[in-house]
């Protein structure tokens, strides 16, 4: 009797387990379908409606290139003045800020990565924290802290020297360098961790001074890491909106700040077209940089 009920319980348990397994299987197939749809639908819709012949984003009525043509000819819907010139100018600003900030951040990030990997000095834990914080702190906090900092600093300078400094490229670049240093340092440190420190020691044993050992041995070996770090910094710089928004001055808007001004208002097919162009450009840029990194990695 007890054995029979035990069997019944077992059978129930097996049936239940079978059900769980079937459900799990269905779930494991349905979930990716839903997830990929969720990830891609907004992008497909955005691109699709940038080619829609009517201004509606509710239904697709036919194909047109009209909106792309409008962007190139300073037209942006009926209600808004839009200038292709301003947009291109913002793009140039983005490239300028990104290039300068990347150069400075790459040097500073590589230096600290080397110091952390090779140096023997106290306070490394503290520096680790200092490098980690800018990565995790909310962007808006970093943005307003820099905004207040520049304001206070410029007020002081005005009091002391009588000359008023206004925010502009210099403030944006300083801000971008600050958030980029940590990312460069992370990438270069990963590369240094893979490198055998005995190679440097061998160079020194063979009579190279530290300077020569660095430029002839260490630097060529970490170069792929430095390049990856620089590309990451450049991408982050081009993409940044929040911190730039709070540190830019008149006439120094970058492309994301300019685009934000458009996006915040209504949905128009011209904005869809601009978004599509930006999407294609950034995908190309990151694709090229990844391909370069891949080539670097396979060469070394």
């Amino acid at each position: 009797m007890a054995a029979a009920s035990q069997m019944l319980v077992n059978e129930q348990a097996m049936r239940r387990n079978h059900m769980v397994r079937q459900l799990g299987k269905v779930g494991l197939w349905l979930n990716p379908i839903f997830a990929y749809f969720f990830l891609w639908a907004p992008i497909v819709v955005l691109v699709l409606f940038s080619f829609n012949s009517s201004r509606s984003v509710a239904s697709f009525t036919g194909f047109t290139l009209k909106w792309y043509n409008n962007i190139l000819n300073n037209v942006m819907g009926a209600e808004r003045a839009f200038s292709t010139e301003i947009m291109l100018n913002a793009f140039r600003n983005s490239l300028f800020v990104g290039t300068v900030a990347t150069l400075i951040a790459t040097v500073l990030g590589t230096l600290i990565a080397l110091a952390m990997a090779r140096g023997r000095f106290p306070g490394k834990g503290l520096i680790d924290g200092l490098l980690f914080l800018p990565v995790v702190i909310p962007e808006i906090t970093q943005a307003i802290s820099l905004a207040i900092f520049f304001k206070v600093a410029f007020d002081w300078i005005a009091v002391i020297s009588g000359e008023r400094i206004f925010p502009g490229f210099h403030t944006i670049i300083m801000a971008h360098v600050t958030f980029n240093i940590s990312f460069v340092a992370i990438v270069v440190r990963a590369r240094l961790a893979d490198m055998d420190p005995q190679l440097e020691e061998a160079a020194k044993d063979l009579g190279a001074n530290p300077w020569q050992a660095y430029w002839r041995v260490t630097f060529p070996l970490i170069l792929p890491g430095v390049i990856s770090g620089a590309l990451l910094a450049f991408t982050l710089s081009l993409d940044d909106f929040v911190i730039t928004f709070f540190t830019s001055g008149v006439g120094t808007s970058t492309l994301p700040v300019f685009v934000y001004g458009l996006l915040k208002l209504t949905v128009t097919p011209e904005v869809n077209a601009i978004s599509t162009i930006m999407m294609v450009l950034s995908t190309l840029l990151i694709g090229i940089s990844l391909a370069l990194q891949g080539r670097n990695a396979s060469r070394s």
């Binding site: 397994r21 990716p32 907004p42 509710a58 500073l108 600290i112 808006i140 929040v242 934000y260």
Partner: protein, 285 residues
């Protein structure tokens, strides 16, 4: 002095000096200034002035508490939804047998995120708007009689946040599922555990480091979100990031904005602490 310099050069700290100096000036000092300003009174033009006061903290935990609560609630909900969607997805990707299929499925998660965050968020305005795509499709199918108001709600913010941060959940979980040895599943079955038990007692604990990292990576930027609620939330979906932003406009109040920022940073630090402790406990087991 010369002796000093040589010692600095020899132990490598001279290399660290420029970067540390930069971060102290442009990262630590600004945060200290924010902390100080958060205790100042509001002066003309919204800037801080003497005397010192705690009124901005009182307001943060008084009239603005509901927004703080909403921000934390929305961030927590975002984390849960990302986990529910992201875990099975990461599992699906990590268990593809062919390397190429695995790479493609992973790439399809990452690729949308090469697009600027603003534009990805804007795309949801097209979808969710009163005359947007979702309403257009539902109306033409006759499923609804009149358009749903989806945009400018907390729901829209939730969708935008999940969309913005889902890969941060998928990638760390993928990494830990990929390392997981599936022989443990066979072992658990052989020892008589059913599927649910095997998952809860074997698979989940061993992939927990990825789950914890994913949760931290989603929760932290969600609490501080500014762009998503700004573009999708309207007044109903206002989050603490928007409130901070407002304090820096024309009729702003920088000390209040600073106090809000400090409180938000405290929330982030607490969640990081929870993450570190949970991770440590997990590692010691």
């Amino acid at each position: 002095m010369a002796f000093h310099l040589r010692r600095l050069r020899e132990n490598g700290s001279l290399l660290a000096l420029p970067t540390v100096a930069w971060l102290v000036v442009f990262f630590v000092l600004p945060l200290v200034i924010v902390l100080v300003v958060s205790f100042m009174s509001r002066g003309r033009g919204g800037v801080g002035q003497m005397p010192l006061t705690v009124e901005h903290y009182e307001r943060t935990f008084g009239v603005f508490f509901i927004i703080l609560q909403r921000s934390i609630g929305l961030a927590a909900l975002t984390t849960i939804v990302c986990l529910l969607v992201g875990y099975p997805l990461a599992f699906f990707i990590a268990t593809r047998r062919r390397r190429l299929v695995q790479q493609i499925t992973l790439f399809l998660v990452i690729l949308p995120f090469w697009t600027n965050f603003l534009i990805r968020t804007y795309a949801w305005r097209i979808l969710l708007g009163e005359e947007g795509t979702i309403n257009g499709v539902l109306l033409s199918l006759g499923l609804i009689g009149e358009p749903l108001s989806l945009l400018n709600t907390q729901f829209a913010v939730l969708v935008g946040l999940v969309y913005g941060f889902l890969p941060f959940m998928v990638l760390p979980i993928f990494a830990s599922v990929e390392r997981f040895n599936f022989r443990y599943v066979d072992a658990a079955h052989d020892l008589g555990a059913n599927d649910l038990r095997t998952f809860l007692r074997v698979v989940l604990p061993l992939t927990l480091p990825g789950v914890l990292a994913g949760c931290a990576l989603v929760f932290i930027p969600s609490v501080g979100a500014f762009v998503t609620p700004d573009l999708l939330g309207g007044t109903k979906g206002l989050m603490i990031g928007n409130l901070i932003n407002k304090q820096f406009g024309g009729s702003g109040n920088m000390p209040l904005g600073s106090a809000l920022s400090i409180v938000m940073m405290a929330v982030v630090m607490i969640s990081l602490l929870v993450y570190t402790l949970a991770n440590r406990r997990e590692a010691s087991r």
